[in-house]
Amino acid sequence: MKFCAVKQYFDDENNNNITSGASTTMIPLPNVESHPLAILITYCKKHLKIKANNADNKKETEKEMEQYEQELLKKVMPQELTELILAANYLNFKEALDFFCRAVASAIQNKSIEFVRKFFGLESDFELGEEEKLREEFAWSFEGVDED
């Protein structure tokens, strides 16, 4: 189910018996910028098209979607990914949300903590020495190497 938030809006409209000028109805999306929205619409259209082309073959659909996703990632800047996640989340578009989360996960994988903080615009709110203490006390196995 794509764009569930938008569908919800349509359902509500029908319930209120407003005349179906569906093609000209304006839906307010205050939390979504135009750029991520454009990408999401393209993604959705492409997904539906690929699905229609490979009606029964689920594997083929998956493969083609993967190829399309790889290409899409090349065009999108890593910083835009966080906006795309927010847009997909607001619009309740599960497939796109999962895809962009996957993309962010591979972008921050094996990167240093500083890199991750910069990526999300976060600051460390651990007190001086608190972080060190926690790291020592609750050390896990698999200490990876920090790269940037």
């Binding site: 927010l86 989340n89 994988q109 999300f120 976060l122 651990f126 196995s141 698999f142 200490e143 920090d146």
Partner: protein
């Protein structure tokens, strides 16, 4: 003089005010540039990270620390984690000094010793701790099978005893420092707890099962042991209360062999009672703690096994014409249904070991040369696994395992959370 000081103070104050304002403005600007991402989106991203990255992500900021330590995240993470095989490998096999003429074993630096941590938690002063000869220790490692290849992972954790059971990422380890001692460890988070002594018994006359009881939400350890009169006794311990309770064992004569690890599926632990020609399974329901037998659809032979498959119990058996049949039991009290036959690539001495909980492949190991094979149910292909090392040096048995962040008690974890 006083005037000058006053001026300096005033200008200093103005400087501080200006600095404070610009910092606030900076923050506002930054907030405007970087949107706030809701917690479940952060979880969605973090759940996809490999454990090394996840470990570091804990320290990005306090909200992330709280998310990763939360019960929901840990459970979701477990759901998405693929099965591996956990095993121990003797330290003396990994000689750091291959040209020395004497057997000389040295523990690798930065190794977490289970026994040392245990003694530390029992407040035994360091000087009094026994110095365990490294030749008697083992490293805990795991084998990952993915896409036709295998990879060995290391936890950098050492122990003195064998792994007796595994469940949801927790393992039951022998503690050789205490006769009959047992420890429950999560080798990823390195959290561990010692269990009280149960009934002492020679290792070849006992078997342990480790299960999660979905009804009560607790972990249980089941100890089956055989006395000199060949009666089987049974005692069960809840990880919450940590007290052994005696329960009725299986009826005399039902169970004749403890060579196989019990399999946890459909709410019960199942043992194959004979090394060859078993017509039934001996099972104990995890919740009701009662033993009964489950008839098998056909006799289980030497290389046949039961395997947990996506929560169901499967019986994997070698058949005529070099085929392998797979039967499924979906619930206690139901009937076995024949799922499918594997027609290609079967070899008689292929013993089914475990199934990959996410990908679904069934993994086999050949008796003759210890090689691994994977059967892909979707592509219907049996594939030999390329091993990272030619001969896997290990001791004891392989246990199906999953690398998770699970802890046995939610109370244990409440210290890790910032509100």
């Amino acid at each position: 003089m006083a005037n000058l000081m006053g001026d300096k103070k005033a200008s200093f104050l103005r400087l501080v005010e200006e600095r404070a304002l610009s910092k606030e403005e900076k923050k506002k600007l930054q907030d405007a540039l970087v949107p706030y991402i809701p917690k479940d989106c952060i979880s969605n991203v973090l759940l996809r990270l490999p454990l090394e990255s996840l470990q570091r992500s804990r320290f990005v900021c306090k909200p992330w620390y709280t998310i990763i330590n939360s019960l929901k995240f840990i459970d979701d993470h477990l759901e998405r984690s693929e099965s591996v095989l956990i095993f121990i490998s003797s330290i003396k096999e990994e000689n750091l000094y291959p040209f020395s003429t004497r057997p000389f074993a040295v523990e690798k630096p930065n190794t977490f010793s289970v026994e040392a941590k245990l003694l530390q938690s029992e407040s035994v002063p360091v000087l009094v701790q026994p110095n365990i000869n490294p030749t008697l220790k083992y490293y805990i490692k795991f084998l990952e099978i993915n896409n036709g290849r295998s990879k060995i992972g290391e936890y950098s954790v050492s122990c003195t005893g064998h792994i007796r059971a595994a469940c949801n990422g927790l393992i039951l380890l022998e503690n050789k420092l205490k006769k009959g001692g047992l420890i429950v460890v999560n080798p990823v988070t390195r959290k561990l707890i010692s269990l009280p002594l149960g009934t002492l018994c020679p290792a070849d006359k006992e078997s342990y099962g480790f299960a999660f009881c979905t009804v009560t939400g607790e972990y249980k350890v089941v100890h089956l042991f055989q006395d000199e009169l060949r009666y089987f006794g049974c005692e069960i311990l809840n990880l919450g209360t940590r007290v052994w309770r005696a329960v009725n064992g299986p009826s005399f004569g039902l169970l004749r062999w403890l060579g196989c690890l019990p399999v946890l599926a459909i709410g019960a632990l199942h043992w194959v009672p004979n090394i060859d020609s078993s017509d039934y399974l001996v099972s104990i329901e995890v919740d009701k703690e009662r033993f009964h037998t489950i008839p098998l659809p056909k006799s289980s032979r030497y290389h046949d096994r039961i395997v947990e498959m996506r929560g169901f119990l499967s019986f994997v058996t070698h058949e005529e014409e070099n085929q392998i049949g797979v039967w499924i039991l979906k619930g206690l009290g139901e009937l076995w249904t024949r799922q499918l036959s594997i027609k290609t690539g079967c070899i008689l001495d292929m013993v089914p070991l475990y199934s990959l909980r996410i990908k679904g492949d069934m993994i086999f190991k050949r008796d003759e040369d210890g090689s691994f094979y994977a059967y892909d149910f979707q592509l219907q292909v049996m594939r030999k696994i390329e091993m990272e090392q030619e001969r896997l040096k290990m001791s004891g048995m392989y246990h199906p395992h999953v690398n998770s962040l699970i802890s046995w008690s939610s109370r244990e974890r409440s210290q890790d959370v910032f509100y």
